[in-house]
């Protein structure tokens, strides 16, 4: 019997998810023994044509990380969907849009203009923009085009499972791989991981008083008491609105949760939920006092929607069609 074929692919991502696969350390060898890796651009050399030539559904599982931001990424996502039995959105960007989706706060034109014309690091006056195609010496080269909006994988193609995290932890990756190899599969659409919020796993949880409110917002570098619940100290922590499963890696490492695992299955909009919770618990009751307190959160979108903007109800700044 031939070994199951597995593919790893990356779209709009930082590469951290690829690192996690490597982070499986010795375990990776066990995986490699049991499967044939047919595509892994970060580590091995495969050509587009090789994949294109494969019969549909011939890949057992594709782990795709990164958001979908360009025409090339969309094309690859669609092709890998066709070729794979299971398509797994791997990591926060594929799951909920991730950091790249913060670009949805701005129209594409504004992004291109700043990055290629106005940024202070550019040579003034050149204003060179990337061209979709360019012919020189009789040869034409092409570039993919940027979409108007950044999307999560399931906003482009059908997704079977989600492995959350920025990046997913080795433990949760192993759980996903084990599930696939053992054939003991959860219902389609499942996010691998528990379905309660992070506080459950956080060792600071017991230090949170029953009655508390936000008098002012602090940032993690300000004098904080070790081991105490961040929220109780006035630091925005996404823990209560974020799916558990990371074993509270950030909070036990001295930083508040930033929400990379996304909300629980019961929540449509993680950012709106934590926003609703935090604002309900403000000590201030008068409008100007409330404004003053909230000014302590200088970047609300980046705070509450750091990973989830693409999948949120907010979606994007302008109501543009998603394709160019």
């Amino acid at each position: 019997m031939s070994k199951p074929k597995v593919a790893f692919y990356w779209c709009a991502s930082c590469g951290g998810c690829e690192e996690t696969v490597v982070d499986l350390a010795e375990d990776i060898l066990g995986v490699v023994e049991k499967v044939d890796i047919v595509l892994w651009p970060v580590a091995m050399d495969f050509k587009y044509k090789d994949i294109e030539a494969m019969p549909d559904k011939s890949i057992t599982a594709t782990f795709l990380n990164g958001a979908i931001r360009s025409t090339e990424q969309e094309e690859m996502a669609r092709m890998l969907r066709r070729k794979s039995v299971f398509l797994i959105a791997y990591g926060a960007c594929a799951h909920t849009g991730g950091i790249p989706a913060l670009a949805n706060q701005f129209p594409r034109e504004q992004i291109l203009k700043f990055n290629y014309e106005d940024a202070p690091t550019l040579v003034p006056g050149e204003k060179t923009r990337p061209q979709l195609s360019c012919t020189e010496d009789g040869r034409t080269v092409t570039l993919p085009q940027l979409h108007n909006v950044v999307r999560a994988l399931d906003q482009v193609v059908d997704v079977d499972y989600y492995v959350p995290g920025c990046p997913p932890t080795p433990k949760i990756t192993r759980a996903a791989v084990d599930a696939l190899l053992s054939g003991n599969l959860p219902p389609k659409g499942t996010v691998i991981g528990p379905d309660h919020a992070l506080c459950e796993e956080c060792e600071r949880k017991d230090t949170k008083p029953d009655k508390w409110d936000f008098v002012e917002f602090k940032r993690p570098h300000q004098k904080l008491m070790d081991e105490k619940c961040f929220l109780a100290q006035g630091v925005v922590c996404m823990g209560p609105a974020t799916r558990a499963g990371c074993e509270a890696a950030c909070t036990s490492g001295g930083m508040p949760c930033t929400g990379c695992f996304g909300g629980t299955s019961r929540v449509r909009d993680q950012g709106a939920k934590i926003l609703s919770s935090i604002c309900s618990n403000l000590a201030a009751k008068e409008e100007d006092e409330i404004d003053k307190t909230l000014a302590g959160i200088p970047d609300p979108v980046g705070t509450f929607y750091r990973y989830g903007l693409a999948k949120s109800i907010l979606r994007r700044k302008l109501n543009l069609p998603s394709n160019p």
């Binding site: 309660h196 919020a197 459950e200 009655k211 629980t264 939920k273 609703s276």
Partner: protein, 670 residues
Amino acid sequence: MDKPSKQTVRIGFYICHCGSNIAAMVDCPAVARFVGTLPHVVLSRDYKYMCSDPGQELIQKDISEHQLNRVVVASCSPLLHEHTFRGAVEAGGLNPFFFHMVNIREHDSWVHTDPAEATAKAKELAHAAIMRVAMHKALEVKKVPVHPDVLVVGGGIAGIHAALTLANAGKKVFLVEREPSIGGHMAQFDKTFPTLDCAACILTPKMSAVGTHPNITLLSYSEVTKLDGYVGNYTATVKRKPRYISEDKCTGCQECIANCVYKEPKFPDEFNEGLGKRKPVYIPFPQATPQVVVIDPQTCLNFRNGELTGKCKKSCVAACGDKEAIDFSQTETFQELKVGTVIVTTGFQAFDAKRMPQYGYGKFPNVYTALEIERLVNTSGPTAGHVVLRDGKTEPRSIGIIHCVGSRDKKTNRWCSRVCCMFSLKLAHLLKEHTGAEVYNFYIDMRAPGKGYEEFYDKLLEEGVHFIRGRVGEVTDWARTPDEEGKLVIRVEDTLAGYVRRIPFDMVVLATGLEPHADAQDVRRMLNMSCGSEGFFLERHPKLAPVSTFTEGIFLAGCCQGPRDIPDTVAQAGAAAAEALALIDKGFIEQEPNTAFILEDECCGCKSCIPLCPYTAITFDAANKKAVINEALCKGCGTCVAACPSGTIVQNLFDDEEIFSEIEGVLAHE
């Protein structure tokens, strides 16, 4: 989106014309036709009056003939008829919560002027309801027993009457009064208009009935500081202020007063509006209930700045003898009361006449407030009914009574205080009777709309009391003619005669209006009631629920709800008692099942919800490290549901599925 269970959903839709209330602005047949095209809608009708018996029977008939399992009615406000239609749906054999109501009257036909747009809006709202009702689940109404005891807050005539009515019906009543005696403002009045009954003669029998009634526990010199719980099961915390007298030992002999180290009364007497004097140990007035003295720590020599020093020789204690009723060691205590219903009868405060400096109250000694005059003409008052000026000897020969002081005035209080015209007439009559002086009334409009009131006004006109129509500009002691010397001059535009007049008087009386107590907002918050813009407690419906509040089981009577006279107050107190009795005798309340609950396995124990609940229904279970909602306390406000960051609190009738479906429905229409 379609779930298998939805395949079996069969919705009946009804749009009500409400006569022309809705049909004049909304094309009801067109809405019915549109809704008929929506998924799961089996039938869609328009009908003249859905709330009528035939309308309700139509729903019941359709449920059985068309196997409907969901019903939507688009008509008026759910506040009015949700109960009616839920009843009809239940009578048709369905769970009443498989029903949803769309308000296309208050939210649509009554507030729009363009029929095409109003019709489009009705379609959108109906679409939302159709989407939502498909998600509805069967729910159960819970019955919670009603505690039969009643708390009455405030011991004026309203509280007294309500307490006696309930006590006579066999209910146990706790009457809490913050002053040392019950009686309220009415106890201060001399006579009552228009019959000129002696106020004390009709009030004091009721007061002593309260004092001796086996079913009434009178907590005087006490204040309610906290109210927890919900209709049928309230827990009130009452602060008992120290009166330094043991209530069960004091016999009311008043030997202590006679033997106080102060031989003469020295301190302003609150009951007589400061016109008389009292000792540090005193009884507010002869008929005070309870007949128990009180020691004022601010003036008693045994205290300094309210703190016990023990430096007085305590002749009062010696006088009390082996009754041993005087107890200087008393401190504030708190008592918890379990009751099912609460009647709020906290009354009013008189407008502070100093807020209108042009009338000179506090500046000219012979400018009086109406309440001062009530005490001055009273036989048991500070002058034994002998009307003299503040010098204590001169009888006034001319008296001017100014109406609407702190009423009907944009600068102070805009409302009419309703009783000032009549008490001014009464005082005019009494002052004339006591002194034979010339009495003038300065009024804006004469308001005498009660039984026998207009006749009383006629009587006053015949008695020779003068009436000048005009709002008084000022009261001044600046004499311009010799006959104005040493007098108070009222300057007024006589709007009937058409010129400005100056009239000199020996005495000026200000008919001060009625306003909410200074701490009415605190009481409102404590009892979870609402206030109108003027600060009086708000009734649930001005016409149809005049003594109910927006909090179930809390009722209102008397001037805390708005200015009114004694007959209206007593009638209201009776009505409030009847409302409480209705609840108590029913024995249980039905609780709306729109409560919130926590998915116990999923709760991460983040405590975000705990401080938010306005009804203190959420507690933290420290053993399981999870939040717990007491369903009986939950009012279904949804605050915790919205704030739960992990979506673990769910509210019946408002779960995400229902709300998002509703939103999708309302947005589906182009």
